[in-house]
Symmetry: C2
Subunit: 460 residues, 2 copies
């Protein structure tokens, strides 16, 4: 709670009781439609179990485009179309392998296997792999201090995912620089490869991949993420000053850019067909899993918003446009293309809502609104609270709606409970079984209700 | 939100800023202790993985008592003791078996197997099992209307777990009468056994057991729960008017009452040692699983409250008493015994807080307080909201603190998000793997913070 709550609570008294009652009944109908006849989970099952991981440029990505097109048609979109864009095309190239030994040649290749996943965009080691001593650092500062020890070694970044942040996205924001920039930072001092402690508070050993970027000034060295248990084991050995050597083999390769598409479905607005409300998630996902929470959930949330509004016979004032964005994970080309098209067509964008924080139980929406305008819409919380959202905060939308936000649209994002997100994020266990059907549906209910309110009352 | 929010928000202005700041800092220390050094998850691992299911009277229950005693000692309790009580002793007696055939003898025993679990307290079929035609009803009303068709049959109660309730406990309250009273209601009309559609919205096929009660006026017939998929399959066959016969074998048996114990640990109050704040969960759990969410979570939550307060050096004004209650599941004898002892010793109970709704991300506390008194403590929500609790509601405590509440204590209950609870409740998948470490810790943080606030400010 904060100082604006009072304003919001007071504002409630000035809202006509009857309008709130009508809205409450309408949202109850939306909720019943989604809880009783919902298609979000069934759609997600098809996406995850018949297609699975769908990285940009992979055959699965194109299957996912066809899935999205059909799901939007089945949901009742007035119009479904594709928006072409160029996307990066990285492939893992094979199974990532690593093990470590205590520097004892007799232990050889039969040392301690480690569960690793090459980072997205990273260059592989080549088929022979890399075998080198390892140096552990806990921060870029320590790396710089010990830069003289790095040459010819594999750098192990053992930066913790800070458990003190109750919002796990903050721990992620804090730690992710080691994944994104760790390779070039170590290559600068002559490292041969890097290993990153995964960005997770999970109790399991799954490594978590994700995008990395090379700084062109330094050699492009291989980079991989390690699971928590292996990272702890390795760290314990190194803390005991054991000599540790690691063998790492990754096969990643960046191919030429290729074509992909945003998949778009619309319900045409009756009063203001040229004013657009966008709702979206991203269709691409990392290859080792099914992309169920990241971001299959956001895709089926968005499709369900359209389906439920249509199913209960709602005729929106503005055009409601569902966008399944291409290439969020390693390029954001879909989000940029969407904004480029909006700009060149001089489209008027009222609001763009993203769901890219998973299909967990909803708690909040964030908006790119001033404190004053946010206070103005807080009375809506009374309508959403029965379904789980009790707070509006200032913040951006997600990554995909960022570019259209820069053109002037208000952007927003569904903020579900974040505790489990980084247990699955970019890891092998991001599968349908780790999505709860009812939590997923509650997300869709709150999104549909918000879109209804924005369509009816605007964001003034 | 509701009409009391304004009162709460206004009240904030009258609270000394410095007191709130001190409390906020203290709660941050509690949270850091639990997030960084927490033992709740590690304790739960031992309870679930080395002991597992621990129904009253089972050998595992006594192992769990020893576990609880040690966990409370390790947490730093000033005093740990046991409170003896008589508990019912039901045993499953073996593996429950069922299958159904289309009434075609050629299909014989090789028909369609069904996943069933006998209900707790139910009498078994005997080693030969029961083989009989089945009649499906959707309610007690339909059963009464069709009472003439019931004799010699197995009654299948296909009452849905209503998805429209956003709080799943309401769907449970609505449906649970078929589990509790279904057998005697059908026996009244000559049924041989009953099968119950499990009380869950889960997408899997796990049957969910739980307590049932016989009405002494009618024969004690066997009763079992079925998984959702089997229930849907069976219902589809019956709706097509297929003749269906079911073979059911269960081995349940009620043995004589036996002794068990509430396990109790205390920190003695410095100012008011004779005034007691109770925090508890129940130690017993159904036999087919590990009792991780129900209610291992509540036990380790409660122990963690004591551990964390002690670890950061807090000296409570009142005596804080952690109680691991015996026999919540099929008798509530532990809760009753606790209140009986309190009464006979003329103890003064200020507050009793229960955690028996799982270790999911926390949202709310409910209290047995008037609207006015509830409004008086709503300013505390500002202190809890960073950790997930944003609402106080009127309601009871849980089952175990009910009896001490009847003696005049204010009772309360942690209300975590309820969406996943009935996926696991009394089913085989109520295991450690379905508890998220951080969600569990957030529950403990909010409970510890609330106990601190009640100890410091009371509930006047």
């Amino acid at each position: 709670m904060n100082r604006f709550l009072l304003t919001g609570a007071l504002a409630l008294f000035f809202l006509a009781g009857s309008a709130q009652d009508q809205d409450s009944l309408f949202i109850r109908r939306l909720a019943d439609e989604i809880l009783v006849n919902g298609k979000a989970y069934a759609n997600l099952r098809v996406l995850t179990k018949t297609i699975g991981g769908r990285l940009s440029g992979s055959p699965q990505y194109y299957q996912a485009e066809a899935w999205g097109r059909k799901a939007l048609e089945d949901a009742g979109a007035d119009k479904v179309y594709m928006q072409e864009c160029l996307v990066p095309h990285w492939t893992r190239g094979g199974r990532d392998t690593a093990w470590w030994t205590g520097g004892n040649p007799a232990a050889g290749a039969g040392g301690s296997p480690m569960d690793v996943l090459a980072l997205g965009n990273s260059r592989g080691t080549g088929p022979g792999g890399i075998h080198a001593p390892v140096i552990m650092v806990h921060s870029f500062e320590e790396l710089a201090q010990r830069s003289g020890e790095v040459k010819g070694k594999i750098v192990f970044y053992n930066y913790p995912f800070n458990p003190r942040f109750t919002e796990t996205f903050r721990a992620y924001s804090d730690a992710v620089r080691y994944r994104v920039a760790g390779a070039s930072s170590a290559a600068r001092y002559g490292a041969l490869a890097v290993l990153i402690r995964s960005m997770t508070a999970s109790v399991d050993n799954n490594p978590h991949t994700g995008v990395m970027l090379y700084n062109d000034s330094f050699p492009q060295i291989p980079a991989a993420a390690m699971g928590m248990r292996d990272a702890d084991k390795l760290a314990a050995a190194l803390e005991k000053k054991q000599a540790v050597e690691i063998y790492l083999k990754t096969m990643g390769k960046m191919l030429p850019d290729t074509l992909a598409h945003n998949v778009i479905g619309e319900i045409r607005g009756e009063q203001y067909p040229d004013e657009i409300i966008t709702v979206g998630g991203h269709l691409d996902s990392w290859d080792p899993a099914e992309g169920a929470q990241d971001d299959g959930a956001g895709c089926v949330h968005s499709i369900e918003v359209l389906r439920a509004l249509k199913a209960i016979g709602y005729h929106p004032r503005h055009t409601i446009r569902i966008v399944l964005f291409a290439n969020e994970e390693n390029g954001l080309r879909g989000g940029k293309k969407y904004a480029d098209e909006a700009k060149s067509r001089k489209e008027k964008h009222l609001f763009a809502l993203e769901s890219d924080a998973g299909g967990f139980t909803p708690r909040c929406f964030s908006f790119s609104l001033s404190d004053e305008r946010l206070a103005g819409i807080r009375p809506w919380l009374r309508l959403l609270q029965p379904y789980g959202v009790y707070e509006f905060t200032r913040g951006g939308g997600g990554a995909d709606v960022g570019p259209v936000g820069e053109l002037g649209a208000t952007v927003g994002e569904l903020v579900p409970d974040s505790q489990r997100y980084f247990d699955y994020h970019h890891a092998r266990n991001d599968v349908l079984e780790n999505v709860n059907k009812r939590e997923l549906e509650l997300g869709a209910i709150n999104m549909a209700a918000l879109i209804y309110l924005v369509d009816k009352y605007g964001l003034k």
